[in-house]
Amino acid sequence: MQLYPEQQKTADESPLHPLDLLIIVGYLALITFVGLRLAGRVRSARDFFLAGRTLSWWVIGLSIIGTNIGANSYVGAAGNAFTIGIAQANFEWIGAIPAMIIAALVFIPLYWKAGVYSIPEYLGLRYNQTVRVVAALITSVVAVFAIGVALWAIALTLQTYLGWPIWVGITVTGTIVGAYSIAGGLAAVAFTDMFQVCIMFLGGLVIVGLGISQTGGFSGFVETLISENPNHLQAYLPADHESYPWPGVIFGLGLVLSPAYWWAGQAILQRSLGARTQWDASAGMMFAAFGKIFVPLLIVFPGLLALVMHAQIEYPDMALPWIIKNVLPPGISGLMFIAIIAALQSTIDSSVNSTSLMLTRDVRHVLIKNADPANDLKIGRLLTLFLLLLSMCTAPLVAEMGGIFTFLQTILSLFQGPMLALLILGAFTRRATPQAGLWTLISGVIVASATSYAGVNMLYVAFSSFIYALIALWVLSGVTPPHPDKDLSHLTYSPWSRS
């Protein structure tokens, strides 16, 4: 079906239907209620940061998906799909699922056996405390800006649909997320994430159903798409593609960036460390991988649908808002609106909780010699509040200084190749030494920066810095003092020996 320009609704038309408003208010009340109900369970730092190690596999799995789908996923992925087609789904498939399988079978059992609260804590045990603090600080600084971006994106969405001023949107969102995150900790975050993911999938399925029916059924949709955009159903783009060349996707995304995200991302793995058993932790990640197979239906399909329906949009990122306004009936558009809000909220609450954990334990415990672990709960809650307030203040700045956020994201991506090399050699061999780990991390970031400065595609930068770091760590470990603990069995992966 083609909507002619005069039939298509613009952003200023389509006032919110009372049914939409009812759904939105109901959602916000439900999320706040569920989050606050779990507050009574928090009596210690372990309860706050790891949900008292009570989470079951299906809660963990849904929460991982909720944390993973963020602001960029919903709006940016639909926009990219509008431009490059199904190749965008590589970020959910080959750029996620293999790494998630290995995370479930190898890294989660490893962290579980080490008994750590965080990935920087594992790196601290496996290498030294400097590596732990550096890893925690870089991740935390980037997280503050990432939370700011998500708050800004929610405020923009609220302004578009409800006409709220930006500062009202930021304050309301910050207050709601803060209320349940500070009171209920990881348990509240995980359970609210679970609701949010269900809403996201429901909204996504409705778009798929209505979209397919409005374009003449599945065969009509595919025929129109292929006849007008023959390459839009190809999973890989040519090797000379400017942004997503297939060698970069397989080697850079599949072998480096994705493993670094799924094996070392604190916001993702924290709910796994909060599982009631090691089996629940691993099964939760595997369950999330099943969910990831269907995520392109939520975030890639709308971009393709906008293309098939000949959306008159100024730039690709308008694809999803266009679909919501032109495809969904009243009531359902409210559902999709809260699906976007839910995606952003679940990213914010997870980032706030994991950053608070890293600052409380990985930075404070190392830098302040007499830090009392008994105060971790109080400090963790105060830091959660502080991080939210800081992000609320930085949200408008992030929008004006997008360059700074891009810069910080680049720093994080420069860090991921060397970090992954440290994790892999640290987990699978006893050869990697503390000093070699630190120097590899520092020199690896320098090598990645130089390659990036030379104008090389980021996917290739990630791969080359990873290869450099693997070699450097191996060589340097041969000439530096070994780890003081000769028995590294609790810090290395060796399932073939029952210890």
């Binding site: 293999p98 079978l105 890989y236 060698p247 397989i250 089996w279 629940d280 595997m286 197979i293 399932p495």
Partner: protein, 66 residues
Amino acid sequence: MDLANLPLEWANYLSIFGFLCLFALVWFIPRHAVFEDAPDQSRWRDIRLWASLLIVLQLVIYAVFN
């Protein structure tokens, strides 16, 4: 070697090869490691089976969007 000149079909061959290697890795992990802490030893709790199903689904997806 200029990466920009690599043929597009190689992407599919490499993907299939990668998924088959992953399949082998999954079944290289011993059973007791997979059932660590598991409430019972039911067959469905063997997450190597979950992983295998995921890999098959991925192979099908990449074959369809070839």
